[in-house]
Amino acid sequence: GIQVEQSPPDLILQEGANSTLRCNFSDSVNNLQWFHQNPWGQLINLFYIPSGTKQNGRLSATTVATERYSLLYISSSQTTDSGVYFCAVGSPLPTNTDKLIFGTGTRLQVFP
Protein backbone atom coordinates (compact mmCIF):
# COMPACT_ATOMS: atom_id res chain seq x y z
CA GLY A 1 0.00 0.00 0.00
CA ILE A 2 0.87 3.65 -0.20
CA GLN A 3 3.48 4.96 2.25
CA VAL A 4 3.35 8.45 3.73
CA GLU A 5 6.42 9.91 5.42
CA GLN A 6 6.63 13.26 7.16
CA SER A 7 9.62 15.32 8.14
CA PRO A 8 10.93 16.47 10.46
CA PRO A 9 9.47 14.18 13.13
CA ASP A 10 9.99 16.82 15.81
CA LEU A 11 10.34 20.58 15.60
CA ILE A 12 10.98 23.10 18.35
CA LEU A 13 10.49 26.79 17.57
CA GLN A 14 10.50 30.08 19.35
CA GLU A 15 7.39 32.18 18.94
CA GLY A 16 7.55 34.26 15.78
CA ALA A 17 9.66 31.82 13.78
CA ASN A 18 8.66 30.31 10.42
CA SER A 19 8.69 26.62 9.57
CA THR A 20 8.13 24.19 6.71
CA LEU A 21 6.75 20.70 7.18
CA ARG A 22 7.09 18.12 4.44
CA CYS A 23 4.97 15.13 3.41
CA ASN A 24 6.23 12.57 0.90
CA PHE A 25 4.00 9.84 -0.52
CA SER A 26 4.97 6.78 -2.48
CA ASP A 27 2.25 6.60 -5.14
CA SER A 28 -0.37 8.62 -6.96
CA VAL A 29 -3.06 10.12 -4.77
CA ASN A 30 -6.49 11.51 -5.48
CA ASN A 31 -6.67 13.57 -2.34
CA LEU A 32 -4.42 14.98 0.36
CA GLN A 33 -5.26 16.69 3.60
CA TRP A 34 -3.33 18.39 6.40
CA PHE A 35 -4.55 18.15 9.98
CA HIS A 36 -3.50 19.71 13.26
CA GLN A 37 -4.04 17.59 16.36
CA ASN A 38 -4.15 19.86 19.35
CA PRO A 39 -2.95 18.83 22.82
CA TRP A 40 -6.50 17.70 23.68
CA GLY A 41 -6.50 15.21 20.80
CA GLN A 42 -8.91 17.03 18.50
CA LEU A 43 -8.08 16.74 14.81
CA ILE A 44 -8.58 20.01 12.98
CA ASN A 45 -8.82 20.12 9.22
CA LEU A 46 -6.30 22.65 7.90
CA PHE A 47 -6.27 22.09 4.16
CA TYR A 48 -7.85 19.82 1.59
CA ILE A 49 -5.21 20.10 -1.11
CA PRO A 50 -4.74 17.28 -3.63
CA SER A 51 -2.83 19.72 -5.84
CA GLY A 52 -1.88 23.37 -6.07
CA THR A 53 -1.45 25.99 -3.36
CA LYS A 54 -3.80 27.31 -0.71
CA GLN A 55 -3.43 29.88 2.04
CA ASN A 56 -5.35 30.47 5.23
CA GLY A 57 -3.96 33.26 7.40
CA ARG A 58 -0.50 32.32 8.66
CA LEU A 59 -0.73 28.87 7.14
CA SER A 60 -0.26 27.85 3.54
CA ALA A 61 0.17 24.54 1.76
CA THR A 62 1.46 23.38 -1.59
CA THR A 63 1.04 19.96 -3.15
CA VAL A 64 3.04 18.86 -6.19
CA ALA A 65 1.23 15.66 -7.05
CA THR A 66 3.50 14.76 -9.97
CA GLU A 67 6.51 14.77 -7.64
CA ARG A 68 4.59 13.16 -4.77
CA TYR A 69 5.08 15.68 -2.01
CA SER A 70 3.26 18.37 -0.10
CA LEU A 71 4.54 21.21 2.07
CA LEU A 72 2.87 23.01 4.95
CA TYR A 73 4.19 26.46 5.80
CA ILE A 74 3.65 28.07 9.18
CA SER A 75 4.65 31.71 9.47
CA SER A 76 5.04 33.79 12.62
CA SER A 77 4.40 30.76 14.79
CA GLN A 78 2.42 31.08 18.00
CA THR A 79 2.26 28.87 21.09
CA THR A 80 -1.22 27.79 20.01
CA ASP A 81 0.34 26.19 16.93
CA SER A 82 1.83 23.50 19.16
CA GLY A 83 0.64 19.95 18.60
CA VAL A 84 1.05 17.27 15.98
CA TYR A 85 0.62 17.93 12.27
CA PHE A 86 -0.53 15.04 10.10
CA CYS A 87 -0.59 14.68 6.38
CA ALA A 88 -3.11 12.12 5.08
CA VAL A 89 -3.64 10.88 1.55
CA GLY A 90 -6.24 8.96 -0.37
CA SER A 91 -5.34 6.54 -3.12
CA PRO A 92 -7.51 5.64 -6.11
CA LEU A 93 -6.03 2.13 -6.06
CA PRO A 94 -6.84 -0.68 -5.63
CA THR A 95 -10.36 0.70 -5.27
CA ASN A 96 -11.46 4.27 -4.76
CA THR A 97 -12.91 3.97 -1.30
CA ASP A 98 -12.11 7.49 -0.08
CA LYS A 99 -10.21 6.14 2.91
CA LEU A 100 -7.29 8.16 4.25
CA ILE A 101 -3.80 6.89 4.97
CA PHE A 102 -2.07 8.97 7.62
CA GLY A 103 1.55 9.99 7.69
CA THR A 104 3.93 9.63 10.57
CA GLY A 105 3.29 13.14 11.88
CA THR A 106 5.43 16.13 12.89
CA ARG A 107 5.33 17.14 16.55
CA LEU A 108 5.69 20.92 16.86
CA GLN A 109 6.44 22.75 20.07
CA VAL A 110 6.41 26.55 20.07
CA PHE A 111 7.89 28.31 23.08
CA PRO A 112 7.29 31.95 24.05
Partner: protein, 113 residues
Protein backbone atom coordinates in the same frame (compact mmCIF):
# COMPACT_ATOMS: atom_id res chain seq x y z
CA UNK B 1 -18.52 20.99 6.71
CA UNK B 2 -20.26 18.19 8.62
CA UNK B 3 -20.47 18.26 12.39
CA UNK B 4 -19.84 14.99 14.21
CA UNK B 5 -20.90 14.26 17.75
CA UNK B 6 -18.90 11.41 19.25
CA UNK B 7 -19.41 9.86 22.65
CA UNK B 8 -18.26 8.98 25.16
CA UNK B 9 -15.34 11.40 25.15
CA UNK B 10 -13.38 9.18 27.49
CA UNK B 11 -13.79 6.04 29.55
CA UNK B 12 -11.85 3.76 31.84
CA UNK B 13 -12.85 0.13 31.45
CA UNK B 14 -11.99 -3.17 33.04
CA UNK B 15 -10.23 -5.77 30.93
CA UNK B 16 -12.55 -8.35 29.43
CA UNK B 17 -15.45 -5.92 29.05
CA UNK B 18 -16.75 -4.15 25.93
CA UNK B 19 -17.33 -0.49 25.11
CA UNK B 20 -19.57 0.90 22.39
CA UNK B 21 -18.65 4.26 20.85
CA UNK B 22 -21.27 6.30 19.00
CA UNK B 23 -20.95 8.84 16.21
CA UNK B 24 -23.81 11.05 15.06
CA UNK B 25 -23.42 13.24 11.96
CA UNK B 26 -25.57 16.28 11.24
CA UNK B 27 -25.98 15.35 7.56
CA UNK B 28 -26.37 12.19 5.53
CA UNK B 29 -23.11 10.60 4.44
CA UNK B 30 -22.44 7.47 2.43
CA UNK B 31 -19.30 6.30 4.19
CA UNK B 32 -18.08 6.64 7.74
CA UNK B 33 -14.60 5.66 8.84
CA UNK B 34 -13.30 4.44 12.17
CA UNK B 35 -9.68 5.09 13.19
CA UNK B 36 -7.51 4.10 16.12
CA UNK B 37 -4.63 6.17 17.47
CA UNK B 38 -2.40 4.34 19.89
CA UNK B 39 -0.41 6.44 22.39
CA UNK B 40 2.18 8.58 20.62
CA UNK B 41 1.34 7.09 17.22
CA UNK B 42 -0.35 8.12 14.02
CA UNK B 43 -3.90 7.18 13.05
CA UNK B 44 -4.68 3.75 11.65
CA UNK B 45 -7.90 2.96 9.78
CA UNK B 46 -9.91 0.19 11.43
CA UNK B 47 -12.81 -0.09 8.99
CA UNK B 48 -15.11 1.66 6.56
CA UNK B 49 -18.81 1.58 7.44
CA UNK B 50 -21.39 1.78 4.65
CA UNK B 51 -25.09 1.99 5.31
CA UNK B 52 -26.90 -1.20 4.46
CA UNK B 53 -23.87 -3.42 4.14
CA UNK B 54 -21.21 -5.00 6.31
CA UNK B 55 -18.23 -2.90 7.23
CA UNK B 56 -14.97 -3.35 5.37
CA UNK B 57 -12.09 -4.06 7.74
CA UNK B 58 -8.44 -3.24 7.21
CA UNK B 59 -5.69 -5.79 7.62
CA UNK B 60 -5.13 -6.59 11.28
CA UNK B 61 -8.68 -5.74 12.39
CA UNK B 62 -11.52 -8.27 12.64
CA UNK B 63 -15.25 -8.00 13.07
CA UNK B 64 -15.33 -10.12 16.22
CA UNK B 65 -13.06 -7.66 18.00
CA UNK B 66 -14.44 -4.43 16.48
CA UNK B 67 -18.07 -4.95 15.44
CA UNK B 68 -19.56 -1.94 13.65
CA UNK B 69 -23.15 -0.97 13.06
CA UNK B 70 -24.44 1.53 10.49
CA UNK B 71 -28.23 1.59 10.78
CA UNK B 72 -28.73 4.81 8.77
CA UNK B 73 -26.86 7.53 6.89
CA UNK B 74 -26.20 9.70 9.95
CA UNK B 75 -25.17 7.25 12.67
CA UNK B 76 -22.62 4.53 13.39
CA UNK B 77 -21.25 2.63 16.37
CA UNK B 78 -17.95 0.89 16.99
CA UNK B 79 -17.66 -1.68 19.76
CA UNK B 80 -14.31 -2.62 21.27
CA UNK B 81 -14.85 -6.16 22.55
CA UNK B 82 -13.13 -8.24 25.21
CA UNK B 83 -10.78 -5.37 25.95
CA UNK B 84 -7.18 -5.68 27.07
CA UNK B 85 -4.72 -2.94 28.09
CA UNK B 86 -3.36 -3.00 24.50
CA UNK B 87 -6.69 -1.56 23.36
CA UNK B 88 -6.01 1.66 25.26
CA UNK B 89 -6.12 4.26 22.49
CA UNK B 90 -8.04 7.16 21.06
CA UNK B 91 -10.81 6.01 18.72
CA UNK B 92 -12.11 8.47 16.12
CA UNK B 93 -14.85 8.44 13.53
CA UNK B 94 -14.66 10.42 10.33
CA UNK B 95 -16.73 11.37 7.32
CA UNK B 96 -15.79 12.83 3.96
CA UNK B 97 -17.50 15.58 2.05
CA UNK B 98 -16.71 17.75 -0.92
CA UNK B 99 -15.11 20.20 -1.17
CA UNK B 100 -14.01 20.55 2.43
CA UNK B 101 -12.50 17.09 2.78
CA UNK B 102 -12.60 15.00 5.89
CA UNK B 103 -14.04 15.84 9.27
CA UNK B 104 -13.30 13.96 12.48
CA UNK B 105 -15.21 13.49 15.67
CA UNK B 106 -13.63 14.70 18.88
CA UNK B 107 -12.45 11.19 19.73
CA UNK B 108 -12.96 8.68 22.52
CA UNK B 109 -10.00 8.28 24.85
CA UNK B 110 -10.14 4.71 26.13
CA UNK B 111 -8.07 3.38 29.01
CA UNK B 112 -8.26 -0.33 29.83
CA UNK B 113 -7.13 -1.38 33.30
Amino acid sequence: SAVISQKPSRDICQRGTSLTIQCQVDSQVTMMFWYRQQPGQSLTLIATANQGSEATYESGFVIDKFPISRPNLTFSTLTVSNMSPEDSSIYLCSVVGRPYGYTFGSGTRLTVV
